[in-house]
Structures are given as C-alpha cells and as structure tokens.
C-alpha cells in the first residue's frame, strides 16, 4: 500500500532523478522535511541546491519560481498552505498567468506550484480554506486536484511536462490515505475528469477532499436502490465540461459537492455549465452541497458542521430523485 504523501514524494523524487532542471523550493521543504512530511528525506538525497528551503517570502519565492522557469529550469514550488498562497497571488495572477500572452507567445512559464488545501484538522480560519475556484478563474493557469493516490503520483509528472503553469491542490486530509498503486504507476492525463462510480439515477460531482465522502454517499444511496454516478473532476481548469454533461444527460440529475463557500464557487460554475449545456435533459434543478459561509471555526463540532457531510449529500440526491 502507498500513501498519498508517499506518492507525491515518489513523483518528486522521480522528477528530480529524471530531469536535472527540476528542483523543489518552499518553506521547510528541506531540513524540516515538509510541513506535511511530503519531502522528508529529499534534502539528504538531493542536496540543498535542488531541495531549497526558502525564507518566509511567498511572493518572492513564487516569483523566483516563475523567473527560474523563464530561465530554463523546471521548478516545483511548494506553498505551505492555501491561505499563504494569497501572499503570492500577485505573482501567480499577474505574472505566471499573463507572461505568455503579454509577450505575444514568446515567454511560457513551465512552473508547478503545489498547495495543500482544505479543512478538517481544526486549524481554524487561516489554514483551512478551499480557494481552488479563485485560481481556476484565471486564464493562463491550469489547476488540478488529485483525489486519489494514483493521481497524486501521476499528475505531478504531467504537470512538469506542461509548458504552462500548473497549480496542484493537495487536500491536506488526503496525505494519509492509502491505495494499492499499480506496478509502474506514472504520469496520468490532467485534462479530463474520471467517472469513479457508474450510476443511472443521479450524478454526484466532486473533487479533491470531497471525493471520498461523495463515494460513501453513493454507496449509502445504493442501499436504497438509488444508483448514483460519481464524477471526480480531477482538473479544475480547464473543466472537463463534456464529461459532466455526458453524465447528466444520462442521469438527468446533478449534485455538486464542493468544499468551497457556495458563493462564486466552482460548484456555481459547474451548475451554470450544466444549465447551459444540458438544461433540457434535467429533471430538476442542479443541487449544491458546499461549505457554510463562515470563516472556518476551530471547535470540532463547528468545523464539521461547516463542511459538506455525507448526510447532506445523500439528502440532496434523494430530494432530486424524489425518494
């Protein structure tokens, strides 16, 4: 069995071995071993030139990653948690996403940014949010959210091979999950969604940290003979609209499960795309199960009440199906 954490580490290790242009930088990725222990041991293996501990300067080390990418390197930049990425938002949005276009196609930015995201560990309102949609809003960026160990292992090499900036959101609650990785598991596509469970009555759409409980919800629904299809978005920009629509045309009902706040969320975008592309196939309105619109509270019962949970997902599906 391989953990999600080990899968990411192995992907980084493989990239470092395969391509001398690749290096990892970020806060505490070296001597500390990564705040989620993802890069543990890599400093000893690859040395401080390629496993670079940075100062607490998100804006500059992300910008330096962009510059290094422009200069011929293939940096992997780790931002300790999604809330800290806001300190680097200027470089991500105003430089990484724009340089290719502003330069008339002359300067692409082959940069990978890894960002732990999400809630569930009682670390309150400055370490717990899900802001994937903010980044997925921006043309010029690609945004992926591996929800499985195989994707954690396989999305990084594909992202590194991409000529443009790719942001990988790793849900912090997933690092410990285990899966049997197939022999020779490696690069996977980062431009399409995956059907994780087939069904005929309702489509449940999720990504990242919400996939697990969405699959559990589908299993629960099956007990009542409701056949739910589960789509793992995998890639948040570009969205695999066709995969979503194909499923909805089959099931005629959709529930979007999204750890973000509902207002202006990816769930809102997906709902709009279903309305635009499959309105006449729908038997009812698209339902959304999102986080309550509060800064994440510390107390466990409040945090759990904030997040989308299985009962709410199951209830939303039942309401649509009418059972």
């Amino acid at each position: 069995m391989t953990t999600y954490r080990e899968a990411v580490r192995e992907a980084i290790r493989e990239a470092l071995n395969a391509d001398e242009r690749v290096f990892l930088m970020g806060e505490d990725v070296g001597a500390y071993g990564g705040c989620y222990a993802v890069s543990k041991g890599l400093l000893e293996e690859f040395g401080p030139e390629r496993i670079r501990d940075t100062p607490l300067s998100e804006l500059t080390f992300v910008g330096a990653g962009i510059g290094a990418a422009l200069g011929g390197m293939r940096p992997i930049v780790e931002i300790m948690t999604v809330n800290f990425s806001l300190l680097a938002l200027d470089q991500i949005v105003n430089s990484a996403a724009t340089l290719l276009h502003m330069s008339g196609g002359q300067f692409n930015v082959p940069l990978v940014i890894r960002i732990p995201t999400g809630a569930g560990r009682q670390v309150a309102a400055q370490h717990s949010h899900s802001l994937e949609g903010w980044f997925a809003h921006v043309p010029g960026l690609k945004v992926v959210a591996p929800a499985t160990v195989a994707d954690a292992r396989g999305m990084l090499p594909t992202a590194l091979a991409d000529p443009d900036p790719v942001i990988i959101f790793e849900h912090a609650g997933l690092y410990g999950i285990e899966e049997e990785l197939q022999e020779g598991a490696g690069a996977v596509p980062i431009d399409r969604a995956a059907v994780r469970r087939e069904g005929t009555d309702v489509t449940l759409i999720a990504f990242g940290g919400m996939l697990g409980r969405t699959l559990e919800s589908a299993a629960k629904l099956a007990e009542d003979a409701i056949s739910a299809e589960v789509i793992d978005l995998r890639t948040l920009r570009p969205l695999d609209t066709e995969a979503i629509l194909a499923s909805v045309r089959k099931t005629h009902r959709a529930v979007v499960v999204d750890e973000e706040w509902r207002s202006g969320s990816l769930a809102a975008e997906i709902s709009a795309r279903i309305m635009e592309g499959a309105f006449f196939d729908l038997d009812g309105p698209v339902a959304r199960v999102c986080s309550a619109e509060v800064p994440m509270p510390y107390a466990r019962h409040l945090e759990q009440a904030t997040l989308p949970q299985m009962p709410a997902i199951v209830q939303a599906a039942r309401t649509l199906v009418g059972r």
């Binding site: 290096f23 030139e49 940075t54 100062p55 300067s57 804006l59 500059t60 080390f61 992300v62 910008g63 330096a64 990653g65 962009i66 510059g67 290094a68 990418a69 422009l70 200069g71 011929g72 390197m73 940096p75 200027d90 470089q91 105003n94 430089s95 340089l99 290719l100 276009h101 502003m102 330069s103 008339g104 196609g105 002359q106 300067f107 692409n108 043309p139 010029g140 690609k142 000529p163 443009d164 431009d191 570009p238 969205l239 695999d240 609209t241 066709e242």
Partner: protein
C-alpha cells in the same frame, strides 16, 4: 571635428555610428546616440499619443535616459533584463528595434509583443528582455528567479532588474533582495530613483529615503550613482556587473534621476514644484553629455546634427512601419493563453 556617422540600423544591431575613429570617441558617440534615440522616440510617442495612435497608459523616460544607456553598456548579449512599465528606452538600447517597439505601442501584430502588451509590456526573447512589468516591484522576484536559473545552469550571466523608488516601499523589494543576497545570485538591482512614485514624493512615503541603506540592510552591496551622468552610470554598472560575474552575489545601484515629463499622459503634474522640474532640466543628461564631449573636442555641430539626422530617420521609419502594420485577426484572440490549444473547453 567631423565624424562620419553611418545611418543607424533599425534592427537589433543598433547604434554604434562610428567605426573609423578611436574606441573612446566611438563609445562616447554610442552613449550620446543611444540617449538621443530614446529621447526622440519618446517625444514622437507623446505626439502619437495626442494623435490617438498610441492609447492606454504611456509612461515616458525623458530625462532618465542616462540610466538605461549607462547600465546596459555593462551587459553581454546572453545577460537578461527585467524592466518596468517605463521601459521603451531599455528595450531600445537592449536591441529591440524601434520598429518593433513603435508597432507594439500602435497595437499591431508586428510589435515586439504582437500587440498583446502595448507600451507597458514590451518583451523580446532574442535579447532576453523579460518585460515590461507594470506591477510596481513585480519584476524583482522574476529577476531573482532568472538569476537563480542562470546560476544553477552554471552560466556566468547577469540579470539586470530596473525598478523605481516606489518599488522600495513594497514588501517584495525586501524579500527579493534578501533572497538574492542569501543565495548569492547574479542580480544587478537598478533602482531608478526619480523621487516620485507616481505623484507621491519619496520623503512623503518612505521613512528611509537613502535607498542604498535598504539594500545594505538586506545584505546587498549598494552604490549611490548620479543617474544624470551617463559615464558615471556606466562605470558603476560595469564595476557592479564585474563583481557579480566574479560570483560575489547581487549588487544594488541607486541611480538618482528625474523624469522631465509627467508620470503618464493622464497626469497633470500638480504635485511637483515648477522650480524643481526646471532645476533638474538644467541637468539634462543629453545636453550635459553633449557639452562634455564638446569640451573634450569630440563633438561639433556638424557631427551632432548628423547623429540627430540618423535618429530622426530611425524614428520616422519606425512610425511608418507601425502605421503600415496590421491588426491581428480577431479569430486569434485567445491565442497565447496556453502554449498549446489546451483551452478548447
């Protein structure tokens, strides 16, 4: 004395108008010619803005020419440059043609950014000119990263990063200098201190107005330079670049200069005393340097007129080129968002 001045090329070969005279004289002419190329290009740009050929924001470098011309003498072709939104002069001296710059300001596809960037976003891969950055301070980490890439690849290159005094108030200024010093990166930080961040005087915005002190506080050796003296700028830049190439890490130049025009074409320039502007205009880097060369017996009316004529021809040609340029077809609107056509959905 009379100097043969062949016509200034329109392409990246640029501007040394003198071959047959001594190296000193040739170099002096190069400095003077480059400053005049910037000045005349900028003056014409202002006219074209009034004529509504150039739109958006237009920030002119008039008065500050000695800085770009002096610093860029210290760079080799494989070095890199990161500049600001007031960068027409840097691009021109670096070797981007006046044609490509003017066409870009017209928004034509023959422009150096294909009409996608405009005045504030000139880019050129051939000369490693990385913009054209219109977020104040936004270029600094890019320059640090370019220097990191060069260093990690064992190249002996320098990345020159231009920014204004306003950038020294941004947090990213300190972050970038710190990282460059910590990792001993080959970055030449060039602070064009023209005393105003748009309309805000340096002393009204920053508690420490000696910007070299901010650099040294971050461990970057710093030099205070008269930015109106092109030879002084060149000397300081060469010293700094030499130190960087020896592996000593980054260097910082505070180049004291002044813009003679308003911040942008929208700016009524109400915040600067007229007397102050006039005082600085007396120190015009071009007039001063022309005078110096005359005193040295290197320049006379005829040779200056010859340089001017060549520069005028180059600018005329650039305007004609831009005027004749073509608009990119609307069908290609979403090009260059991603390298491949991966955004079809």
């Amino acid at each position: 004395m009379s100097i043969e001045t062949p016509s200034v090329a329109h392409n990246t070969e640029g501007a040394s108008p003198v071959e047959a005279v001594s190296a000193d004289v040739a170099h002096a002419y190069r400095l003077l010619t480059e400053m005049l190329r910037i000045r005349r290009l900028e003056e014409r740009s202002a006219e074209l803005y009034q004529a509504e050929k150039i739109r958006g924001f237009l920030h002119l470098y008039i008065g500050e020419e000695a800085v770009a011309v002096g610093v860029l003498q210290a760079l080799a072709p494989d070095d890199a440059v990161v500049a600001t939104y007031r960068e027409h002069g840097h691009a021109l001296v670096r070797g981007v043609s006046a044609r490509a710059i003017m066409a870009e300001m017209f928004g034509k596809q023959e422009g150096c950014s294909g009409g996608r960037g405009g005045s504030m976003h000139l880019f050129d891969a051939a000369t490693r000119f990385y913009g054209g950055n219109a977020i104040v301070g936004g270029g600094l980490p890019l320059a640090v990263g370019l220097a990191l890439a060069d260093k990690m690849q064992g190249k002996k290159c320098v990345t020159a990063c231009f920014f204004g005094d306003g950038a020294a108030a941004e947090g990213v200024f300190h972050e970038s200098l710190n990282l460059a010093a910590l990792w001993r990166l080959p970055t030449l930080f060039c602070c064009e201190n023209n005393l105003y961040a748009m309309g805000t005087a340096l002393a009204r915005a920053q508690s420490q107005t000696r910007l070299v002190e901010k650099a040294t506080a971050n461990g970057v050796p710093a030099t205070d330079v008269d930015g109106m003296d092109v030879e002084a700028v060149e000397r300081a830049a060469r010293r700094a670049a030499d130190a960087i190439r020896e592996g000593q890490g980054p260097q910082f130049l505070e180049l004291r200069t002044y813009r003679f025009r308003s911040h942008s074409m929208f700016d009524p320039d109400l915040y600067r005393p007229k007397a102050e502007i006039e005082e600085w205009k007396q120190r015009c880097p071009i007039a001063t340097y022309s005078g110096t060369l005359r005193e040295r017996g290197m320049l006379d009316d005829a040779s200056l007129a010859s340089i001017e004529a060549n520069v005028t021809r180059e600018v005329d040609d650039a305007v004609a080129f831009a005027e004749a340029g073509t608009w990119e077809p609307l069908e290609t609107l979403t090009r260059h968002v991603y390298s491949e056509e991966s955004a079809k959905r």
